[in-house]
Amino acid sequence: MTPKFKAQAGTFESSDIMILIEPLEKDSGRKVDISSTVMLQFEEDIKATINQVLDTLQVQDLHLIAKDKGALTQTIEARVETAVKRSLGIQEGTM
């Protein structure tokens, strides 16, 4: 699947993560940009979690921007899933 809309989920609160998604042209693949307060400690973990959710939902051709303030894995999964579903137009929400 490929995203149709720009979408976001999450907040800038501590222990949360803000996920922004914008659609890219067909066959562009995935571009994932991460910034995090725990980058030094958990960069690989965060990257792996995000990609895992994208794999599970089988989405491609998107630019995902993650701004993390130390969210736990479950929080990251939930925020990414919500943002993806909003971008696909299958779930209502902001943006």
Binding site: T37, V38, L40, Q41, F42, G70
Partner: protein, 519 residues
Amino acid sequence: MKNAIGVEIPEYIEGLGKLEPFQGVWNSIIEDEVPVTNISRTLKAKKPHVSKLCKNLEEAIKRCKPFDGMTVTCHHHLRGGDGVLMQTIKILDEMGIKDITLASSSLTSAHDGLVPYLEKGMITRIFTSGIRGALGDAISVGKLKYPAIIHSHGGRVRDFLTGRIKPDLSVLAASAADEEGNATGAHGPSAFGSMGYADIDARYSRNVIIVTDNLVEYPCVPCTVRQHFIDYVVKVDSIGDATKIASGTTRITNSPMDLRIARIAATVIEHSGLFKNGMSFQVGAGGASLAVAKFLREDMKRKNIIGSFMIGGVTSYGVDMLNEGLFHSIFDVQSFDAAVSTSVLNNPNHIEISCDQYANPNNCGSMTNKLDVVVLGALEVDVDFNVNVITGSSGEIRGASGGHSDTASGANLTVVVCPAFRGRLPIVKDRVHTVVTPGESVDVIVTERGVCVNPSKPNLAAKLKEAGVQVVDIHDLKVEVEKMTGVPAEKQLGDQIVALVEYRDGTIIDVIYNVKNLS
């Protein structure tokens, strides 16, 4: 050589000399006998009716004949609002003085401006109890020529008395002073309360300058710092901003997590066997620890408990408890918000004490040794109950030893409060990055996910369990937390020692290496 907690300590460090390894909380403190020489007070002379007043700080410093390699000290009673230390360093730099040892009782956000002076070698050594912000980052990446020494508040007094720190020039801010140098922090437009740390500098420094924005008619009453120690007096427009004394660490938190931890900690105290009339008490500044006072206050009222004394680190919250009659007295070495100074001035049961009386391990009457209960914060704790209050998640210096290890060693019950994790970073570790307070002196660690009792206190654990407190093994807690957060990547450290943590008895308890990546 390895110290008692297994840290490799160099025997000698260029610029600092020989080091002694930490050997246990009480091992180097021999009763009735101190195994080191102590210095004598500087002899001074002044002819009758000669004025000590100088027209500005520059003139006063000049009259003290500054020289390369000298030791300069200040106090940190104005915390984030201090305006005197930076002025002093700037003036000395303009005079071309270099290779300075800076020995301020602590360093705060007001001292980020020191970084360029480190970089150009004007300041080459630092002794202090706390380092934060840009200065902490600069030292962490190796910008200070010789390793910084982090001492405790009590350890600083000891360092003065043994000659480890030999102050040549002390520039001390006062909110009121007279022409002879009698000085106080208790009144005046910039009142900041107790002058407990400054009292030591005044007594033992070769040259002492009192700087005040409020020159009062002789004599200044009351006065903490006395005229017979003071060389010069300067009237300036401003000593800083007393409204910045209270940082975020000195207010009662609104964080539900911190309040929950504090509630549990107060319950631990209530069932410790020490919660009775005559109890003495201290709380550290900062989130959950200060909030414990709020719950303790309620519990004391509910059970009609009247305590003996509080010490600290005094906040207006503590003053309220004194005024309500919950404690008989406060011994005040440092006032954490400007409002406390009114109480220092007016309440005879609010007693200003020097840091010597507060926490010096080498006297025979420090208040910390009379403490029943102390509640302290932590950046990290470990399965051996060691506590880190100095280095952050990247290994960078960003905190303060303060009175942490002093009070922990003296109190009957040392309670450390901290969340089990902060923003995905587990706080309970196999080994803290830097040990400031050894686990030997920590009795209980309180988190929102359970209370860990030091295995050396099985009776306490039993009492708490009986009272329904959720007591957990600290190893189990660590595993539980890491299941949620994941295991953080190893820190990227270099092999340059950038700071040494000196235990209160003068031995070295831990070393801090340079950080390659700052988050």
